[in-house]
Point group: C2
Amino acid sequence: MKLLPERTVERLSKYRRVLQRELDNGTDHIYSHELAKLLHITPVQVRRDIMLIGHTGTLRKGYSIDNLIKLISEIIDCSSSVQNVAIVGIGKLGQALLDYLNDSNTKLNLSAVFDNNPDKIGTSYSGTVCYSIESLKKIVEREGITIGILTVPPEFAKEVSTMMKDAGIVGIINYTPVSLKLDGTFLEEYDVITTLEKVAYFSKPKNAKLL
Amino acid sequence: MKLLPERTVERLSKYRRVLQRELDNGTDHIYSHELAKLLHITPVQVRRDIMLIGHTGTLRKGYSIDNLIKLISEIIDCSSSVQNVAIVGIGKLGQALLDYLNDSNTKLNLSAVFDNNPDKIGTSYSGTVCYSIESLKKIVEREGITIGILTVPPEFAKEVSTMMKDAGIVGIINYTPVSLKLDGTFLEEYDVITTLEKVAYFSKPKNAKLL
DNA sequence: TAGATTGTTAATCGATTAACAATC
DNA sequence: TAGATTGTTAATCGATTAACAATC
């Protein structure tokens, strides 16, 4: 299949989550406007996304929830080969994200957490054992980890991200405020303070971009 | 000034942070390509952003760091009237974000945190006292809080976000996986699992959108 | 002057939305 | 049939990038 637009992939993730909830409620089909309403987007956008992944619905019943979930899962996490995730830096943010992962029904598998604090190494966080950052390469290779969540203090961000890449990780989410650049790696950056300051700007009455 | 593009505002926040660091190092002027390099973006983008906020540099020395920081601060957080922030739901994520705020040099002021757990109410988190969610409206009005960070469990997201709006909060960052819709409020949603699943998709070899 | 830089418009790219044909 | 729905192309919107004039 052709590469999907980034925004479409993001919505697919959300479609799957709410569809799973509907399925659990016993619903088996859904119309584009119903799915749209659950996510506060437009029905056209839903239909276009579904078109892009090659699924088709019926005029009478809409989309088959079960089929749609299966297809999205095939696209996002490729049921055949499970993708393993590591959290690197298990401070407060790392632990918070860990809980998010455990509470979600994502198909991605959290395999390991890493830290350089001796008190943390060897202990278990919500069922996942913490390794030393020195053993990153060894564990990443052994567990087949491909995705890393970077939540170390900013001063270590650059060094540790390079280690992650060298260990074979191909996708990194960088939660530190340090801007990174890693060739050959899909890098997603999220900046907490920048998000807050953006909201501050658009919340000011004179910038009323109210939604 | 005309309303700035969202992405420009985000970059302004990052410009300010790295410029402050340069200023602390004793640098007083900076060229667009230097600033660009610090954030791994292009010099054109830097110049265009700076043009949009009406600052001008000189051909010989580039931009005055001090002036640029002052101007960005004026735009983002309006030095005249400080904006107050509240964190609503002080679980692990709320506490992690609180630390990010305290470690940053943002001009935004964290005034209060809220939770409904009796054990938490009245205790202090990194120097900020926790109030009951029932007293949200009272405290928001008293402290002049305009921005709220929503980090409650998903089942409370909708109800609490409505309370925040009714209390007078005009900008909300929603970290719960529940999609919200609030008229008359600037709402920014961040979905941890969606971000991870997006990275999973683009990290797969066949989707090599490697950057 | 030559080279490096800023400032700005026009072109391009990516994503959303409008419009509408086809179908049950 | 009439009304509701899906599927899809074209138009629009927002953001980035290319191109280049002006300046020191």
